[in-house]
Amino acid sequence: MMGCECKGGFFALRDCDQAVANSCGTCGRGVCSRHLSPASGFTQCLDCWAQGHGQEAQPVADDGSVPPAQQSVTEGAALDDDWAFGYRHGFYRSGYAPIYYGSHSSRYYDTYDTRSFDDDYDDTGVDDSDGGFGDS
């Protein structure tokens, strides 16, 4: 059975593969309990919730400041997974292309220009590269 399709990590993305608890109401991917967004009432994955709510991260000015309305951490921020995924979404959208070192490449993350180890994967997610297991 296929595991959770969400990718963990911030600087580098990796597979989660935990047991699926539910499917995301927005993207339809199978998601584990950790990657379901509490803020959405566990109806969306953290990625979809972040895409709807994550702020666009602003670059830091030369003096280290960011306008108050665009600061990364607002007063009372929960700093939970919802916040981290929201921040991650904003950070990726501002130009950071995360490296992915898992084995289940997913088109879901194409919008982030993910740099993958698995460039040989085709659209169906099947590895055409040499090595690995062949058909038996």
Binding site: F10, F11, D63, G64, S72, P98, F117
Partner: protein, 294 residues
Amino acid sequence: MNKALAALKALTPEQKSILKEKRIDGSYTPQDAIALLKPVGEFDRLNDKARTGIGCWSAVFFVLGVVALIVTGNGVLPWFLGIPIAIGLFGMFVYFLVTVIRLSKSDLSNNFRQIALPFLAILKEDMEKGEAMQLKLDLSSATHDSKKTGQGDAYALGAYHKVIDHFYRDAWFEGSAWLADGSSVSWSIVEDITESKRTKRNARGKYKTKTKYRKICNLAVDVTLPHKEYSVAGGQAAIDAKVKIKNGDKRTTVRLSRKVKIKANEPWDVRALVELVAEAFRRARPAVAAGGAA
């Protein structure tokens, strides 16, 4: 005020000890660190918010107490009414004053909840569950006496006839962590703060003193990337940072540093630190092409 006091009461003995010592030094999993520190951060937020209000109310009760005494002294209010009212108002003044002093003693540097906690929450995403990180935090005020490194001679500056600069060094945050991909990150933040006390005489002959701050924050990050997973590219940094790359037998160490200059004694945006770590990973390429990984 009640929310701040309730949040203080709800803290565990370990969390209260952090508020008292204003130091954290040890090995924690990010989950444990956040579970331990988040309620402390929430109390600090409520504390900051409450203290301003309590200070104002304290002043109001004092003034009303004095007014009640004057009015009673002038016979406008009978003494059996005026004296208890004045005592009540002064009582409230003392209670609020004691509360604000008590809360002030528990105040933590805003760097804690604006930089340290968010950085831990981000780092948590890249760590295996249960993996511990080394953490050293100094949450006392950046201008605490123990952090003073010197004081300049008095000089004149424009309208200010006397300016004295006080210098502080605040090495408040360092740590290291192993990430799930086999990389390691270590970081250190040292802030050099200049507190400038400027005195001038205004048109009415009164002396006024202003305190201004400027600080230079030195952010340093080391990221070691395993050859097994990554090859590392050289070249210019995409952000304003110095980069040094050192190749080892099994790992490449990317050493990054940047300076953030601020004209206030306020926290900078955590993004300045996140960008520094990201710069190391931006240089990483999958080692597949070199025949290493996957």
